[in-house]
Symmetry: C2
Subunit: 121 residues, 2 copies
DNA sequence: CTGTATCCAATTCGATACTG
DNA sequence: CAGTATCGAATTGGATACAG
């Protein structure tokens, strides 16, 4: 198990340089909306409208853009059912579930400690 | 151990609403530069100039702003040694180390998988 | 060495309106 | 229902210069 940042850096040269894959993916999943969309989907499949309601404050533009990014990263699966009216479902891919196994403990920690942290002098 | 997003949500009402403490802290630590600064500090104390070199691409403005935010959240400790020329050291607080215990596994996962993810069709 | 101040460019983002 | 298109506002961010 990796426990130090030095170990992570050692695993590959220049792994945290600007524009490298690691930085790009970090920007996607650690973005304002990325975390929330991924977290919402970690409970199971959701439709477009359900996602929009669960992720408080997200605009349609940002939801569409976030979903496209996460899907192209292979973290989110989009399934369009051929019906009228349209019915589209979003879910985590196996890769996405693997990621959320690491992310949820972090989100849980923040939820636990946030109120003691904000507004400090 | 919390494993589902539903459990996290259940722990407090409206915990993921816009403007709530959880969202504010998430924005700080999951920000573009927040992750990288915290990661760099997780290896130990660093001076201003060392941080600037280790976090590739960060501007002085963003480094200053990121450090102020993380310090006011109680995650980073700033120690100014009274010498000429000035010598200032930054390190994680116990709270910051606690956080990084959850964040480093996530960063390590991304470093491992990023190159297989970016540039997918 | 460790920052702060200022200006300006780039990007993000939200509201609104509209389509299949 | 599930998006796309467009616009302008707001925010972010970098370069530079400078101060303690």
């Amino acid at each position: 198990m990796v426990v130090s940042f030095a170990q992570i850096r050692a695993s590959q040269d220049r792994i945290f340089d600007e524009g490298c894959g690691t930085r790009v993916v970090l920007d996607h999943i650690m973005s304002k909306w990325g975390v929330l969309v991924l977290s919402a989907l970690s409970d199971g499949t959701l439709r477009w409208g359900e996602l929009r309601r669960q992720v408080d404050g997200i605009s349609e533009k940002m939801l569409a853009s976030t979903l496209r990014t996460l899907a192209s990263d292979g973290l989110v699966h989009r399934e369009s059912l051929p019906s009228v009216p349209p019915h589209v479902e979003y879910s985590l891919t196996p890769l996405g579930r693997d990621l959320m196994e690491r992310m949820l403990p972090l989100v849980a920690w923040v939820a636990d400690h946030a109120d003691a942290m904000v507004g400090r002098p």
